[in-house]
Symmetry: C2
Subunit: 392 residues, 2 copies
């Protein structure tokens, strides 16, 4: 068991019509001039953006808007947001959307509150001292960014996708209304469920010590998402299933499912980041496509955890050797991914990287993690390349 | 499933020697003049209090002390603390101890920051607008007050034990070092484990709708505490078991295990509060002594939850009618309480109330909850009396 810090200051308001409380929450956390940051047109078309603006108008809170945050959000838009906030003296950020809008807003918040080029945070060259306060209205359950300390930004030049973690960016509030996720395409719902599960699995597959209570809650979360992802495939407007998945998304990445372990493994995420940087694939689908190859490469080095996962999450039979049980758990996970139409290799993901592409990704990934990284098993550039090749 | 709010802003620093970070944390949250509030002599004898003072001295933070917080903490000491803080211009409270010191400190914080008599909050006559910031060094895993919004104070005149809940009192930080709980007497450890389990059970046995993810985490927490309470009975210095129980204590009462239910039942706590007010018994033991009688009175009205609990927490066999399974779960809980030397009735608790005492407690309890209350089953004064009588 490892020592840990747990800090989740985000006030979560969960349930139907909760977006109506947005102005009260902005006021509660001191916002007087708000930048509403969002992604594509869905929040416009659904009427959500107008509803938010009406609520701010009624409360006498002034605001401006910046749309256009894309999946794997771009640094150029972050720069644009920073300029806008400085010029207009914005003192509160409101992200309306999914992880793209939230991560982009977090980067804007850092850029406004710290001197110098915000990319230097993501590039590991400096640390943030402050951030603008941020609130969230979530429309996509996936990244957990609504409670997390992390954000991931892609620099278009060189297609570099990098994350930066700091408690400073944890949102002040998160409005979670499962109804706002009802109209998502099935593919995005499935990608979200995969991402959610992976945030806990990254924390679960570690060596060196764990906590029983964390494991029990992590396993319960994973079983819940697995079950409800299957329900949503057949019945996408099932409120309860949407709610289970949405709340799981926040809990899966706010730190709870990692307490007492050694910080998590995170190599599936790192490997996927390079995929996402080079091919602009959906993050959840990229994770599903890479996970099986990663798991088969590392499981022998982390056997007790893979066995426990197989038994308690994938509910495979407790029969055979530990290795056999662990492999059954990996296969069951891939079967589950396929059952919600997620890919289990790069071909199914719909991309055809050349071996040179794979080498490039392995090299960039190794550089990004400072040479080598991992807890289930430490991976160097050669190992990364082997996993990429196995995932073809 | 019900809508919910989830707000747990407390920064938790968990692990060995974490009390050494106290001065940094006080500074981080703006404290310049601290009241160190504690209970009996154990924090003095163990050297913890001196260690805390040394750290504050080294950081140049001035402080004063107020000891004497007792189980079922008294209003008179709260008044004394309020006077002291006002006179000395204290701007930060640091509770060192268990729930008694923390609850007492919370009441002091309300009293300093709000006009009028602080008891009016606990008596339901007004609401708090503010509170002094509070930090905690926990030495007893039980009440969960280190992350919770609640505090319970006893007014000596009339022996009135009343709680007040508000996000304002949630501690800014909580230092959780399992080593600080190693020297607790077995009885207090067992009382703590009972209290911890009961905080989740109060949220679990409800009607009207629940969340699967909350249930899965609640059941995991309960299994973990049950298992580790038994380990601690044989091996009180087992660090991992102390850590599992300590973290469970915080999670069990910070709101997590109640998300999506309808606020919890809380009648076992209310029934015990009257016991505690009249007889000054240990809170956890009082809960254990009353729970079985309460459960048998209400379970038919909340049968699916009692069955689920029996199967997933007490791990009874899935055989027989739902009622039989539920009753097996209740019996298994009482067996567990006995196995850690907790009482399962008032006689075993060591008190002999007269029937007039029981009537007084039922009447005071009914008044305290505004006539009737409960979710597993709504209880009025007659029902409360019946449960008290059954627990003799």
């Amino acid at each position: 068991m490892f020592d840990f810090k747990y800090y989740t200051p985000t006030k979560v308001i969960f349930g139907k019509n909760t977006q109506e409380q947005v102005a009260d929450l902005v006021k509660e956390f001191g916002g007087t001039k708000v930048l509403i940051h969002y992604g594509g047109g869905s929040v416009v078309r659904s009427g959500l953006l107008q509803q938010v603006k009406d609520k701010l108008d009624q409360a006498g809170i002034s605001y401006l808007e910046l749309g256009g945050a894309v999946p794997n959000p771009h640094l150029s838009l972050v720069y644009e947001g920073i300029e806008l906030c400085k010029k207009e003296k914005v003192d509160f950020l409101l992200a309306v959307g999914g992880g793209s809008a939230i991560d982009s807003a977090k980067a804007i918040g850092y850029g406004v509150a710290n001197e110098g080029d915000v990319w230097e945070l993501y590039d590991g060259k400096k640390k943030a001292n402050a951030s603008l306060p941020l609130g969230v209205i979530l429309t996509l359950a996936a990244t957990g960014s609504e409670m997390s300390d992390s954000s991931v930004i892609t620099k278009e030049e060189g297609l570099l996708k990098r994350g930066y973690n700091s408690d400073l960016c944890r949102p002040k509030f998160a409005i979670l209304n499962p109804e706002l996720t009802m109209t998502l395409p099935d593919y995005q719902t499935a990608c979200g469920c995969t991402d959610i599960m992976m945030h806990t699995m990254e924390r679960y597959f570690t060596n060196g010590g764990n906590m029983e209570i964390t494991d029990a809650m992590a396993e319960g979360l994973l079983r819940t998402v697995k079950k409800n992802a299957l329900i949503l495939k057949k019945d996408p407007k099932n409120y309860d299933a949407r709610a289970e998945v949405m709340w799981a998304g926040s809990l899966s990445h706010n730190g709870l499912t990692g307490c007492g372990n050694n910080g998590g493994d995170w190599m599936p995420h790192k490997l996927e980041h390079e995929l996402g940087g080079l091919f602009d694939v959906a993050h959840g689908a990229g994770l599903a496509a890479i996970w099986g190859s990663w798991a088969r490469y590392v499981y022998k080095n982390c056997l007790p955890r893979f066995k426990k996962y197989a038994l308690n999450v994938m509910e495979v039979e407790d029969r055979g050797s530990d290795e056999e049980i662990a492999l059954c758990g990996i296969e069951a996970t891939e079967d589950f991914f396929r059952s919600i139409d997620m890919p289990t290799n790069l071909r199914e993901l719909g991309i055809k990287p050349t071996d040179e592409d794979l080498q490039t990704m392995a090299r960039k990934c190794a550089i990004g993690v400072g040479g080598k990284k991992g807890s289930a098993r430490v991976l160097d550039e050669a190992a990364m390349l082997e996993i990429y090749r196995a995932s073809m």
